[in-house]
Assembly symmetry: C2
DNA sequence: ATGTTTGCAAATAGTTTGCATCCAG
DNA sequence: CTGGATGCAAACTATTTGCAAACAT
């Protein structure tokens, strides 16, 4: 996502291009380190001491609405527990938030790319499917 | 994970087998619907009105320590944003919490099991690798 | 001009902590 | 008995909301 796209998308959606929004967007894409709201806020506060945490927070949410950004691993915002210890995959329904275990022979051994295997110690590779579940489909 | 294992693991780790722990464990594995603390608390409160939210919360954490349970998609507990819109995978470092984008041709098309494809509307299939990153490996 | 956006402050939700009491071993 | 476990209440953290003032168009 480039800065030029940012302007286009803002105009298309008729949302105002404010200095804060421009700076927040630039900070978001600058080094792609998946920053939190607080991170972006802290970085911007150095250059623009007047910016508020709240604006950063709301702006990032707006960006997600507009398709300019995504929330990292965006599931529910509270902890859930799993009694199944063995490695397995999950399906998340985006409507009812059901989580369904996925056990599949084919997916059991995920091919870990050489680049990754050599650089990091990979402890787990888990597929997370998101979509709409059977119950919610029929609504 | 079975109830018998629960007793064994508690004994092995010399933690007390209290009625609360037994009930919380049974509730966790009963229908494997990935319950939140609040869910388990609410369900148990019907039968055991004296149980406290706090005990449920701490017990579940204890279960994770002992390897009796897992936290679902257990990443950091605050929201992080991604400026990359295109589908891609992530590597999470469990030590420094860096998140690194994984783009890989081989992984681009994840084989979605027929069973899943037929039952749900799958919108995304994303692999989340967890492990220890290059920087943290050398510490 | 005017309706959106901003900054502030207070509220909220989920989780955690401190501590006195209780109970499993 | 005794140290770990429980229940309660208060604290904490991340996020959200309401509102008046400021600004982009």
């Amino acid at each position: 996502m480039l800065l030029a796209n940012f302007y286009n998308i803002c105009e298309m959606n008729k949302i105002k291009i404010t200095p804060q929004r421009v700076e927040i967007f630039k900070e978001l894409i600058k080094n792609n380190d998946h920053p939190s709201v607080t991170k972006i806020y802290q970085r911007l506060k150095k250059k623009y001491p007047n910016i508020s945490f709240d604006t950063v927070n709301r702006t990032l949410q707006k960006f997600v609405e507009l398709g300019l950004a995504r929330v990292v691993e965006d599931f529910e915002d509270f902890r859930r527990y799993d009694g199944v210890i063995e490695n397995h995959h999950h399906f998340h329904c985006i409507k009812c938030h059901r989580i369904i275990d996925v056990f599949d022979e084919q997916l059991k051994e995920i091919e870990i790319p050489e680049g990754l295997k050599n650089t990091f110690n990979i402890l787990e590779a888990k597929i997370i499917f998101t979509g709409i579940c059977d119950k919610c489909k029929s609504d």
